[in-house]
Symmetry: C2
Amino acid sequence: MDRVGDVSVAERREGAPEFDDEFRQRLYDLLRWRRDVRRFKRAPLSAGTIDRLIGIACLSPSVGLSEPWRFVIVEDEARRALIRQCFEECNKDALEMQTPDRAALYARLKLAGLDDAPCQLAVFSDRSTAQGAGLGRLTMPETLDYSVVNAVHTLWLAARAEGIGLGWVSILDPASMHEILDVPRDWRFIGYFCLGYPQTEDDTPELERFGWAERQPAAAMIRR
Amino acid sequence: MDRVGDVSVAERREGAPEFDDEFRQRLYDLLRWRRDVRRFKRAPLSAGTIDRLIGIACLSPSVGLSEPWRFVIVEDEARRALIRQCFEECNKDALEMQTPDRAALYARLKLAGLDDAPCQLAVFSDRSTAQGAGLGRLTMPETLDYSVVNAVHTLWLAARAEGIGLGWVSILDPASMHEILDVPRDWRFIGYFCLGYPQTEDDTPELERFGWAERQPAAAMIRR
């Protein structure tokens, strides 16, 4: 098996890309300028864009090659309205959890691009998928959900590389999302995503610019 | 607020990068050639590499700017041995769950680079972090864990862009990982990661090459 592996790899290796400093600097630019976008222009994405981005997202790693990602493109106005309503209810609860000064700031932050984003996407994790025959997920079935998050992150970066912004809406009730979108019970709701051209570009998160929180130095996150 | 926002953004926009077709093609190459690496050369990473990669990972999105990612670099041989033992026990259980033909294939797959990978990293999600003041995670606290997964995925891509491979080990018992690494109770175990220079490069997942599972077309993952 190893021998076969080595031979096939030796062949494949010739086509393997080498990444240079210039590419890496551009990659870091992409990571630095990727933002969680809340304010969108209303201009639609061109036809086929979201399908193409999902195709790129499917290059992502998944536990045991299970590919549990399920994408629901939400175009129906009635369903979008129900999702907006769900967000408003959850957001109200969240507001009440904050201290008064925080609540005032919170209210000013535009937490959803639900009104303007031309493309909206609900993403689920198929917890019952047979693909991959359960490999690697016996002790940690949540790795299925993590695989879906990988795909979302890939989609996010691929979108930003085309100048398209994405906003992750997490102030939603998963059970309501199931009802509104009528998806299988075994699907776990991962998040709701707004896509479109951003009104603005920035290399600093909006929450940091508005004084909600500051990013910490990476060294603070490391133990040995 | 909007006016301030617009002004500051107009200034910032000038420095905003534009990504061209050439960059995007290289980005897709990176996504296509990123692999879950199991077979490593023993050559160590150069000094400072893992800290630098973690620094890049910290550019990732997190819910409410909570940055809940916690990285534990595991260098101690005794702890590495305990983690290896934990893997072997969990792997044995997993093997018993497979049908005989699957089990034979499963046994042949090298599921861990634990013996050879020069750099090993446990990653946790700090579920109790005050950073971000709870924003965006009231209805879905698991978005903290998803934020950590974003960081892992960023680290994975940044590593591959330097020719460094990463393997995600999920066949582990989270409770044991807590004990072995002596981390706070509120930290949730996300995964254990092996890093090093890969023995081989490929654009096809090892599980696909070995007939464990086949990747499905993206169109199969989309609903409207």
